[in-house]
């Protein structure tokens, strides 16, 4: 059907708008300033992707895309620069592997996320994965959400610390009360030009009310959401405008209506049992954390590469003797060949036999036995995927930026890669005081790089410096994810080519100013609150310390600093219409 519609579109039998809507509903996004190409967004509910699927993605990316695939910050896997005429071929291939792009874009329920630690997290109440998958299955193709005012995002967490429950339209954290399963449900969060943190519906929502709460929320959004103003039609604006108290009451009321009117048949389509893992997996023998000796030892730039990797890429699971290893991908990119070899390694070394992709744009391979870790590491090394730093400040997040996106102003994707290369070269992954800090970069204010929840966040723009336009990033301080999510505070604009120097300068100041065991993340938060104790006490002091770095020579003397990464030519901000809200 997609191929037929492409033909009709080419023959002008199908209007631009109708075709765009159809294309987006099926997961094909227009490429930057080149509408003959698409970015194909493969939905990966809860991020869980098996080796056969990885192999299929590898062969499709080689045949029809650019030979690399890209892990997004919402656990999708994206294939870029696919010719419109080949999109149908990719979709057919994906279906063969049990994958879909259906409703990956457009005004629908997007990919349902779930913490990649779900099922192995030592702090979780229970595994949220089957719930996330059942919710995804329930809403896909569901008539109630085929034409919402705008896109709709649902995120499951595993515990209070992991996951992105507070920045979604619906965010859920597993909870147990009186030995009964349920969730803490947050509504109306989301990042974008204006970001909001979600509100807690009630202290405890029992499992039985999970589906009615989600349905009620979507129905309210569908009925009351803004369909006129594209810039303010996400549900978070509705919640903000109506006010939380009133919205909360509307949710309770709508939920009772849903509960009274939903057919038994419909409710049964939400089938958590069907999504549960049927194969016997190793169970938690001892729920206390089991540690590899190496995990807690200090490592340095001089440590053996394997120990450095172990230190920054491997964590113990709640299942005694099993570990989760992270594959560090530069801004989420992985080649077809790497995918194939990795698929083999997953079959061989992971007792659950699947991978999860992460919002940090890495891959988590779980259920690896301690004894197998060296072999697994060597296998990764054979394909250039054994970089350390996945769980550290070095693993910078970057959206696709000007590599592919119509809305992007700057090349955030390349900048994230540059940060990662530089920080690994400097060995910053070995510095435990930087470990809980994050760097996230978006190419425009729209937050696909999730810059508001980073310790140091950046979003791209264009600024006039003297008589010249230059790519710049607005730097934010002190954002965080998890249940205590905070949004970062905008500090100042930084020329693109000075971002890395600026981060290094901040680290340098932190090292001079910190008190004993304070981490960079803790110190940054203290500065944001104006509670610093040294010479840099607040944001104003910080800005003053960084200002010298922002001084640029005139463009004639240093043209390079006025250009963006990946471009020799003079910078000019080019964007086209966004497609999210077609």
């Amino acid at each position: 059907m997609f191929a037929q519609n492409v033909k009709h579109f080419r023959q002008k039998k199908l209007s631009d708008d109708d075709f765009r809507r159809f294309r987006l509903q099926h997961g094909a996004y227009g490429s930057r300033l080149q509408m003959n190409y698409s970015m194909i967004r493969i939905k990966v509910p809860s991020g869980e992707v098996n080796p056969e699927q990885l192999e299929k993605i590898a062969s499709l990316s080689e045949a029809f895309s650019i030979g690399s695939a890209h892990v997004s910050t919402r656990q999708n896997i994206q294939l870029h620069w696919v010719q419109l005429e080949d999109v149908s071929e990719v979709m057919t291939g994906l279906v063969e592997a049990g994958l879909t792009t259906r409703e990956a874009c457009g005004n629908t329920v997007r990919n349902v996320m779930c913490s990649h630690f779900a099922g192995v997290c030592p702090d979780e109440k229970f595994d949220a994965t089957p719930y996330a998958k059942a919710i995804a299955r329930f809403f896909i193709r569901n008539p109630m959400c085929q034409n919402l005012p705008r896109k709709f995002k649902i995120n499951f967490a595993c515990c209070d610390n992991h996951g992105l429950a507070r920045i979604a339209d619906i965010g859920l954290i597993p909870e147990i009360k009186d030995e009964k399963r349920g969730f803490k449900i947050y509504l109306g969060g989301g990042l974008g030009a204006a970001s909001f943190i979600g509100h807690l519906v009630e202290d405890f929502t029992p499992e039985s009310k999970l589906l009615p709460t989600c349905m009620a929320t979507i129905r309210l959004f569908d009925r009351h959401g803004n369909r006129e103003n594209m810039a303010r039609n996400r549900m978070r604006y509705l919640v903000h405008e109506v006010g939380w108290d009133k919205f909360q009451r509307l949710v309770f009321k709508e939920r009772s209506i849903v509960e009274m009117t939903t057919a038994n048949y419909t409710s049964k389509l939400f089938d958590v049992k069907a999504e549960e893992e049927t194969r016997p997996l190793p169970k938690a023998v001892n729920p206390k954390m089991v540690k590899l000796p190496m995990l807690n030892e200090r490592v340095t730039l001089e440590s053996p590469a394997y120990e450095r990797w172990l230190h920054s890429n491997v964590v113990p699971q709640k299942q005694d003797g099993y570990f989760t290893a992270f594959v560090t991908l530069a801004a989420g990119d992985i080649t077809a060949n790497q995918l194939r070899i990795l698929a083999g390694a997953i079959r061989e070394f992971s007792a659950e036999g699947t991978a999860r992709n992460t919002p940090q744009q890495n891959l988590a391979i779980r259920y690896i036995r301690a004894v197998d870790l060296p072999d697994f590491y060597n296998r990764l090394g054979s394909i250039g995927l054994a970089n350390p730093g996945a769980l550290t400040i070095a693993s910078a997040v970057g959206c696709s930026g000007t590599t592919s996106c119509n809305l992007a102003i700057t090349n955030s994707h390349r900048l994230a890669k540059e940060v990662e290369y530089k920080f690994l070269e400097l060995g910053l992954d070995t510095d435990d005081s930087l470990r809980d800090s994050t760097i996230k970069i978006s190419g425009c204010p729209n937050s696909c790089g999730q810059h508001e929840i980073a310790t140091l966040g950046f979003f791209g723009g264009a600024s006039r410096i003297g008589p010249t336009m230059a790519p710049t990033y607005t730097m934010l301080f002190g954002g965080s994810a998890g249940e205590q999510s905070e949004l970062g505070k905008a500090i100042m604009r930084v020329p693109a080519k000075r971002v890395i120097d600026t981060i290094r300068k901040i680290i340098e100041i932190y090292k001079q100013e910190r008190s004993d065991s304070e981490t960079l993340n803790q110190w940054i938060n203290k500065i944001v609150r104006g509670e610093g104790t040294g010479s840099v006490r607040n944001i104003e002091n910080m800005k003053a310390s960084l200002t010298p770095l922002m001084q640029l020579l005139p463009v004639e003397e240093d043209p390079e600093v006025y250009s963006d990464y990946g471009n020799d030519a003079r910078f000019s901000a080019k964007t086209a219409r966004g497609e999210c809200a077609a």
Binding site: G67, W81, K417, G566
Partner: protein
């Protein structure tokens, strides 16, 4: 030629005639499958040509194969030199020739096209690469094969070749379509104006250098290219990737296909016009 060789080739003339009558009525399809090749080898009714590097050939090759590294052919890529190659490999006018490589078929395709260009239509590509042949556990040998020289006529098939001026003129004709066989990012960077992109990576499948004719035909149709169009293929430098595309299109039933063998390298060196796309940093998406 040494005296020894010369005297041998004299005595071989009779045999040549006998062989032609006995075996060479077999007309190869575009792609030769493994069973057919093995049958022909058993009957001594085929010349198998290995276009990998000499060292690779020396290590092992398909039984009875002769060595013709692609570089040797490209050294003097003119019809008379290619005719000499045919003669030196002991290939007479009607002898079936099956060519293989270990580079997904592109090198073999370029050699096969050259043979057909100088008037040896009975040429086919082996359906798989040498590695795949080996993986199937099929027979190989290490013996260096050489065969008595044969005479071969020279009949240039102009209808399968395009040069720069032909391509330039074709751009303006709606029934002639240019296909760029390079990978997507190279194509986006720059290409001959109006060319359509079918990356060579679309053509192969697991275990075979070319997908089924139906699939290739569908890709062509999806692009709105009529099967009765004349198609000119080109790639980056010497016509290997586009050589494979040439055969893919023939396999899909396109009658009228030409190879611009000197490809984009020559086009650029001649300073001909290009289409470029510089508004996106797509190279930074590649994980290579």
């Amino acid at each position: 030629m040494t005296i020894e060789n010369a005297s041998r080739s004299k005595t071989d003339t009779k045999e040549d005639i006998v062989e032609t009558n006995k075996n060479y009525d077999f007309q190869l399809p575009i792609i030769c499958d493994v069973d057919t090749l093995r049958m022909l080898i058993r009957k001594d009714g085929v010349r198998v040509v290995d276009v990998r590097k000499t060292e690779e050939y020396r290590q092992e090759h398909i039984p009875s194969a002769v060595s013709l590294p692609l570089a040797q052919l490209l050294e003097k890529d003119i019809p008379t030199a290619i005719m000499d190659i045919l003669q030196n490999l002991g290939i007479s006018d009607k002898m079936p020739v099956v060519i293989y490589d270990n580079t997904f078929g592109a090198l073999a395709a370029r050699v096969a096209w050259s043979f057909q260009y100088v008037g040896h239509p009975n040429t086919a590509l082996l359906e798989m690469t040498f590695s795949q042949w080996k993986n199937l556990g099929l027979e190989t040998e290490t013996k260096i094969n050489s065969f008595p020289m044969k005479t071969h006529s020279l009949t240039i098939n102009h209808s399968i070749h395009a040069d720069a001026s032909y391509v330039e003129a074709a751009k303006e004709q709606p029934n002639k379509i240019l296909i760029d066989s390079r990978e997507r990012l190279n194509f986006l960077t720059e290409h001959i104006p109006k060319a359509k992109n079918i990356p060579y990576t679309m053509l192969g499948s697991n275990g075979s250098i070319l997908r089924s004719p139906e699939e290739i035909k569908r890709y062509i149709e999806n692009r709105g290219i009529p099967v009765d169009a004349e198609i000119i293929t080109y790639c980056g430098s010497v016509g290997t990737l586009s050589g494979l595309t040439y055969y893919a299109l023939k396999l899909a039933g396109i009658e009228n296909v030409r190879l611009y063998s000197k490809s984009f390298r020559e086009w650029k060196s001649l300073g001909k016009p290009k289409e470029e796309f510089k508004d996106a940093n797509y190279w930074d998406l590649s994980a290579d």
